[in-house]
């Protein structure tokens, strides 16, 4: 099967088969990552620019390592200014980068949809979304699905609870889009200030009134990061109360299936959305997610460059 997209911007834009292809390629890529010499020549001579308009350690490093393991030349640009009011516009940045003939731009940007805008300006360069505003974070969605598949051997029929600030979460959106296509059932919970209108229409989603209801008999409990800066604003009184009603701890984790896996996209606020006992506990797959991130991103880079699965 051939991957026909120039870009990977949203799991909403991909079919089930395309998602399966990316996941199975990632499974194969893992073998490279376990070698003594972790490098293959697949993308030799390709240039990848990691253009990050928002701070990121994990995602940017993961993409950089992914590119390097495939022998691509990777360049990192991290800039705090994403506003056209100061500095250069995104369109101008894009045109300047384009003049240097990159093959792939991996971008993180605070404005939802800016990758589609960039893609139109750059018809001959692949765009990979490393997170756009509150829209999608497809590499995170893919690595989450790979991690679930590792644990259960399937995604079809899994009961996945996603708890936290759904409204502002691109991780939640990508997981909902991807998991729905793969046949999982998604249960979301959070204070109503953090659950967006029409969330159930996004896919195979049930919106739950309480955290207990969402994680009841779940195979997967995915906790979202609470943005500390939202504390004391209008979405919640403070992290103390948030953690009391929407934090995962060894007590409420018992509502999930006994072998349920616990996930978190990171970075974690220990003691807020999850207690340390759960973060470091036996059911936690958080570091496995990070490990799978490199393989998934290798698969994404490989396929937008026209690679085929042997």
């Amino acid at each position: 099967m051939e991957f026909r997209h120039k870009d990977i911007i949203a799991l909403r834009d991909l079919t089930k088969e395309e998602i399966e292809l990316l996941i199975s390629t990632a499974e194969n890529m893992r073998e490279i990552n376990s070698r003594d010499i972790k490098k293959v020549p697949t993308l030799r001579g390709k240039t990848i620019i990691n253009l990050f308009y928002e701070a990121s350690t994990r995602t940017r490093t993961s993409f950089e390592i992914a590119g390097k393991r495939l022998s691509a030349d990777t360049v990192n640009i991290t800039t705090s200014s994403s506003s056209s009011t100061k500095g250069e516009t995104l369109a101008d940045t894009a045109l300047n980068l384009l003049a240097m003939k990159p093959d792939i731009i991996v971008m993180r940007h605070a404005v939802s949809g800016s990758h589609y805008f960039l893609s139109k300006k750059m018809p001959n360069c692949s765009i990979i979304n490393a997170g756009d505003g509150t829209h999608e974070h497809p590499s995170q969605g893919l690595l989450d699905m790979l991690t679930m598949k590792d644990r259960f051997g399937r995604l079809d029929g899994l009961k996945v609870a996603i708890v936290g600030d759904i409204t502002h979460s691109r991780v939640a959106r990508s997981n909902i889009q991807g998991l729905t296509k793969m046949g999982s059932q998604i249960f979301v919970a959070g204070p109503p200030t953090m659950v967006p209108p029409g969330v159930e229409k996004l896919g195979n989603v049930t919106s739950c009134a309480t955290m207990k209801e969402a994680i009841q008999d779940a195979d997967v409990v995915m906790m979202l990061r609470i943005q500390q800066e939202r504390q004391g604003k209008t979405l919640m009184p403070n992290t103390r109360e948030y953690s009391r009603y929407f934090g995962l701890n060894p007590v409420n984790l018992k509502f999930a299936k006994p072998d349920a896996m616990v996930m978190h996209p990171g970075p974690i606020n220990r003691g807020v959305e999850m207690s340390s006992a759960v973060v470091d506990g036996d059911q936690s797959h958080i570091l496995k997610q990070v490990e799978n991130g490199v393989a998934v991103r290798m698969a994404m880079l490989y396929h937008v460059c026209g690679g085929e699965l042997e």
Binding site: R12, S114, P196
Partner: protein, 423 residues
């Protein structure tokens, strides 16, 4: 300045007319309506057979961007676009640079329109000085200078006390207050309507209640003070309901909507289309239905465009950064005629909402073809089909979600004071 318009279907709600008649114009004034009129020597004859002949259309809500923002539009290009769209008069909003908060700016606009423009321009002054929401502008002098209303359009008057006093003071000066109804705290950083579409594409939403609360407040202030008020660009079903109920109680409230609010839903934003970004934002299907019902039952008095030209650089950027607003002067008539085709409005109602009612609400001596009236006349062909082509638009800016649309109905002649400004 003298013309004989022959054989058109004359629709003039101001005198209950809808029949095939000739219209004789002499020296810029309507001289006579009748059958089989003959042209006096030297009078140009316009063949209007198959066309509708109506009182000149009035768009009571446009942004001409002049003075100060001429890179988007100016009085010449804006009035040319108006004439191309069949409008003989436009009311321009005060958010220019500087703001229309004094006589000098109002006079500049009126004079420039008279000497270089293609149609009448009636400025709207600001409610507050500099549109800063802090103290009232000189409404008396603004009216004397030729302003037909006051508004801080683009932003609400946040202080309820100041809005109350402005309504009272404006009533004393005999000038209408136009409310931009928006609760800014509910809007926050919102970039589109809050609903399923905003959830799916991950843009921060603006809830409909942000408009409704402000509409309710301003209607209640008008009721309490006994002052008239006009609510601009109504876009939600509950604002329509609030206004309908207020009218039934006898509150002196009138309102307008814009063609995009009865033509598009927030689905048009998909693909992060910045030409579907405006304020208030495009809403949902039930709002569109309520807007149509409000137009039909008379709750909504006027169709105005909120013509808001923006430069390509302000639209061809990331969605959140893009400016709010779309142009509308050259697409308003066909989009409104679609409501006639759909059976929502009669042609008579359409003419009321696009000419008679704006003239009444703002006390502009237009909106009628009675003998002795200023000869502002629009001729349109309701059947002609055409495609909206950015290259052919007269406006300086091209920010329209309707580019490429096939539409039906077009102004074929725009006559201002007996002078053919567009044919």
């Amino acid at each position: 300045m003298s013309l004989l318009i022959k054989g058109g279907r004359v629709i003039d709600p101001s005198q209950g007319l809808d029949e095939v008649l000739d219209v004789l114009v002499e020296r810029g004034v309507i001289k006579e309506l009748g059958k089989g009129l003959s042209a006096p020597a030297g009078v140009e004859v316009v063949d209007a057979s198959g066309k509708c002949v109506v009182p000149g259309l009035i768009d009571m809500h446009v942004h001409l961007r002049d003075p100060g923002l001429e890179y988007k539009e100016d009085i010449i290009t804006g009035t040319r676009a108006a004439a191309a769209g069949g409008f003989t008069s436009v009311c321009c909003m005060p958010n220019t640079k500087p703001v229309i908060d004094n006589k000098a700016i109002a006079s500049y606009i009126i004079n420039k329109a008279k000497s270089e423009g293609f149609c009448n321009v009636f400025p709207v002054g600001s409610i507050t000085y500099g549109m800063n929401g802090e103290r009232m502008s000189e409404m008396g002098e603004l009216k004397e200078a030729g302003c037909v209303a006051v508004s801080d359009d683009g932003k609400p008057v946040v202080s309820s006390e100041l809005m109350r006093r402005s309504l009272e003071y404006a009533r004393g000066m005999g000038i209408m207050v136009i409310s931009h109804a928006e609760d800014l705290s509910l809007v926050g950083e919102g970039a589109m309507n809050e609903g399923f579409t905003s959830t799916e594409i991950g843009l921060k939403g603006i809830p409909r209640v942000a408009e409704d609360i402000a509409t309710a407040r301003d209607v209640m202030l008008a009721e309490y003070t006994g002052s008239p008020i006009h609510i601009a660009h109504v876009s939600t079903k509950d604002s329509v309901r609030i206004i309908r109920e207020a009218k039934a109680r006898g509150v002196k409230v009138t309102c307008e909507t814009a063609p995009h609010y009865f033509t598009l839903t927030d689905d048009a934003v998909r693909g992060y289309n910045t030409n579907a970004k405006m304020n208030p934002p495009l809403r949902e299907a039930d709002d569109v239905a309520a807007i149509k019902a409000g137009l039909k039952d008379g709750t909504i008095d006027c169709i105005a465009t909120d013509h808001a030209p923006h430069h390509l650089d302000e639209k061809d950027i990331e969605f959140n950064e893009a400016m709010n607003g779309i142009i509308g002067l050259e697409t308003s008539l066909p989009l409104s005629l679609a409501l006639v085709e759909e059976g929502v409005l009669s042609l008579k109602q359409l003419v009321e909402k696009m000419s008679c009612n704006p003239s009444k609400i703002l006390s502009i001596a237009r909106g009628s073809l009675k003998a002795g009236s200023v000869a502002d006349i629009t001729l349109f062909d309701p059947a002609v089909e055409w495609t909206v082509d950015a290259e052919k638009l007269s406006s300086k800016s091209k920010n329209s979600p309707f580019i490429g649309w096939k539409v039906k109905g077009k102004a074929v002649a725009t006559i201002v004071a007996g002078k053919l400004v567009k044919a």
